[in-house]
Symmetry: C2
Subunit: 255 residues, 2 copies
């Protein structure tokens, strides 16, 4: 009898660091599989498709499938589909968001009168793309951002994240977007709906208080902070609301 | 005997609108020339060189020269030269800022350990340029922005201004830049130094309260708001501090 019937699990800092699997991560997923406990990886990465994410995990020795990957792109597409099926979308973003929107039957357009503007990380960003997004928002398009992450850790250092690219449109049009990714509730509520578990039965697992743990707190589910990434034990005391559980790594966690 | 011995004059909305000269503008400059009153055009446009700006004005029938054009790029280069002659600069920007920095003997570099990061409007913006700026600021470079303008009026609508591009670096690095352009004091104080007039002798002329008039107020000089551009008469009442003078157009202004 496991304590939780469903797991929402962060990737970067929880499953891997850069291209290295984190000790205990692969075994943790094996234990979930063996116990038949459903789980979803919940990630703010909007650029990769679930297939690409699962492929990376499998290559690291984590036995999982694309069906277990819930990206902010998937959440964004679902959110728009629920509001307006078949809506037209002006997109700043890469493969992950483009594929997710297409899968929901949403129409990606390049003109400046779309129903929605969606911004995701886009390493092919241009002034023209930003201009089109600004003109569209000024024309009344609903403004959605896949996530507010300000920086992306890489071997080179902290690169600009989607939250910083989004700010061009926010600042220029003086319009705030709806953020979909962690710590916002949208991605979490959708992931729980896919998992099919109740709030009492579900736990959020992650390494970063400000996104993962706060996301769990924001929708009122239990949380497990693992000290394998950003938020080390000594920084926890600055937070009023503590995680439900903390562990040094996932080997220390019993299902 | 003229009331003011030196004029600081805005361009867009004061001298021209798009490609059209504003009625009274050319005659106003002719009257300044005839009365031997020194003046400078003070512009937040960082992309054009003084030669390019003067060329545009002359083609519209405004008889002026590049020496009368004080761009925010010129002010930025002067500011850095005053702080650190020969400094190395990582630049996001176009011709105007590149030429101005070179004229001050500053070194434009592409590595990520410069003395300064300077951002100006750059219609050739790329993720790599933004990443280099973010990495440089994180490495300790002093962060300077030519201006905080959030939007640029064009025939197509309001395009992203330098203030919105700058925000990528501000948001990603959580570091505020020093803004050089109007309404900040840096560009105004430098322009007055070039003009060689005292505060009591100098007036700022412009169409936009939030940049032009506020710039004058911020450094304590008299101001003339002309209702030929952004700030129409009916919007003035929302401001606590009023311009020293207001006119419908420059034909109504006696030197």
């Amino acid at each position: 009898m496991t304590r939780y019937k469903g797991y929402l699990i962060d990737l970067d800092g929880t499953m891997y660091a850069g291209t290295q699997v984190i000790p205990g991560a692969a075994e943790f997923i094996d234990r979930l599989n063996a116990a038949n406990v459903p789980y979803l990886f919940v990630t703010n990465n909007s650029s990769r498709t679930p297939e690409q994410v699962a492929d990376k995990l499998v290559k690291m020795g984590i036995r999982t499938t694309p069906e277990n990957v819930f990206t902010t792109s998937r959440a964004t597409a679902q959110f728009i589909h629920d509001e307006k099926p078949g809506a037209s979308i002006y997109v700043i973003g890469e493969d992950g968001i483009l594929e997710a929107l297409a899968e929901q039957g949403l129409e990606v357009v390049t003109h400046e009168n779309p129903d929605y503007v969606v911004t995701g990380i886009d390493r092919g960003i241009t002034y023209e793309k930003l201009a089109g997004a600004c003109l569209s928002v000024r024309n009344g398009a609903r403004f959605i951002s896949t996530n507010g992450d300000i920086a992306i850790p890489t071997e080179r250092g902290f690169m600009p994240g989607n939250g910083s690219l989004t700010s061009v449109v926010t600042v220029s049009t003086e319009t705030q977007p709806i953020f979909i990714g962690k710590p916002e509730p949208v991605i979490m509520e959708q992931a729980m709906a896919v998992l099919g578990t109740s709030k009492e039965e579900t736990i959020m697992v992650g390494d970063y208080y400000d996104t993962d743990i706060l996301a769990g707190i924001n929708i009122g589910i239990d949380t497990l902070l693992v000290h394998t990434g950003v938020t080390q034990r000594e920084f926890l005391e600055r937070y009023d609301i503590q995680p439900t559980h903390t562990r040094n790594n996932l080997n220390e966690w019993e299902l």
